[in-house]
């Protein structure tokens, strides 16, 4: 638009110059090849696909597109292997079927889960729940014995302090022969 108006302005200035200099009417419109004067209106021929190439000025999208490129890269770096693995497991291995426990058979602790990944985790990563149960019971047993012994010790201590006939609570007192009774021996001191 600016270029067009500039061309028109230049054309008007040239026409005014030519009219001013020559003073005669001339045919407008320029045909034929040949050197042109500057400021003339020329029909411009551009390639038919997009027209004239323009330098479009806009804000940079380099940082945004770099961010999205890196995001896609790092997400797909582990996302695609995980997706492939999950598809393989769900399509080719599949889930377990529910069945009655056969006679005389004790299932392993991972055989109580359906999905193959859960079974794998229960088998190789986690502890069996029976082990957890037994650990809790062992801890409870230890603490129960400790608390029982502590109560007995407190009771024994109380009784020995009270009755004084046990091995505890013996305090060294000074010998009675060392006591000097001369202060109290005569009544008029």
């Amino acid at each position: 638009m600016a270029a067009m108006s500039r061309v028109l302005r230049a054309a008007a200035a040239w026409a005014a110059r030519r009219a001013g200099s020559a003073g005669t009417t001339r045919t407008t419109g320029i045909t034929g090849i040949g050197p042109r004067l500057p400021g003339t209106l020329v029909p411009v021929r551009h390639s038919g696909d997009h027209g004239k190439r323009m330098f479009i000025i806009k804000a940079t999208s380099f940082y945004d597109s770099r961010f999205l490129r890196l995001l896609r890269f790092y997400v797909f770096l582990t996302g695609i292997p995980v997706a492939v693995l999950l598809t393989y497991i769900n399509v080719f291995i599949g889930e377990a079927e529910l069945a009655e426990i056969p006679e005389g058979y004790v299932p392993e602790h991972w055989e109580y889960y359906k999905h193959p990944i859960t079974r794998w985790i229960a088998r190789y990563v986690l502890d069996p729940p029976e082990k957890n149960y037994e650990k809790d019971m062992a801890l409870l047993d230890l603490e129960a014995r400790k608390s029982e012994l502590r109560i007995l010790e407190l009771e024994a201590r109380r009784l020995m302090r009270h009755r004084g006939d046990g091995p505890w609570y013996h305090y060294e007192t000074p010998d009675k022969n060392l006591v000097d009774n001369s202060m109290k021996s005569t009544p008029d001191n």
């Binding site: 080719f92 599949g94 889930e95 079927e97 079974r119 409870l140 603490e143 129960a144």
Partner: protein, 175 residues
């Protein structure tokens, strides 16, 4: 994947729509939609499913429902026997989960009956309604107001109070 509805559990009574006689020569548009649905959705999905099932038929491994042995209850434990307390507590929690699932199943049956019967639900679902009322009352009596920190001991105390109330009510009725 969530479980599919077990269609064999809720016995739907046979439909009683009467056989309609054709009075027009215009073909039924529902047939067209049905075949379209069949070709667009049903056939590809069934094909893929059968393909996957064929692939998965080779390795068959099973999973079971765990059966727990019954251990002595909290009322049969000696005082100070913390191991017995622990096992009784674990058993009580499992029993409470089982009871919750039972209530859930009875509720689902009631909802299925309501959905099935529609406007005649109040007449035809009387059995399910009564069963639901009984089951929820029993659950409320046993596990009702124990709260978040309810355990086997508080439940036993609640049972003790219930029995005391019953005994007092029986004595008052005698007099």
């Amino acid at each position: 994947m969530p479980e599919d509805h077990d269609l064999k559990a809720y016995k739907v009574p046979p439909t009683r729509t009467p056989v309609a006689e054709r009075t027009t020569s215009v073909p039924n548009p529902v047939d067209f939609f049905q075949t379209a649905f069949n070709y667009v959705f049903d056939a590809p999905v069934t094909f893929v499913r059968e393909l996957i099932e064929r692939l998965q038929n080779k390795n068959n491994f099973y999973y079971y429902h765990q059966k727990f042995r019954r251990v002595p209850d909290l009322s049969e434990c000696l005082e100070g026997d913390y191991l017995c307390y622990y096992e009784a507590e674990a058993q009580w929690r499992r029993d409470r989960m089982v009871d919750q699932e039972i209530v859930e199943i009875v509720r689902e049956r009631m909802a299925a009956c309501k959905q099935r019967e529609g406007p005649n639900q109040f007449q035809n679902c009387a059995k399910e309604m009564e069963l639901l009322a009984q089951v929820t009352k029993a659950y409320q009596d046993r596990y009702g107001d124990l709260g978040y920190h309810g355990n086997a001991r508080t439940c036993l105390m609640k049972q003790k109070h219930r029995m005391m109330e019953e005994r007092k009510a029986a004595q008052e009725k005698q007099e």
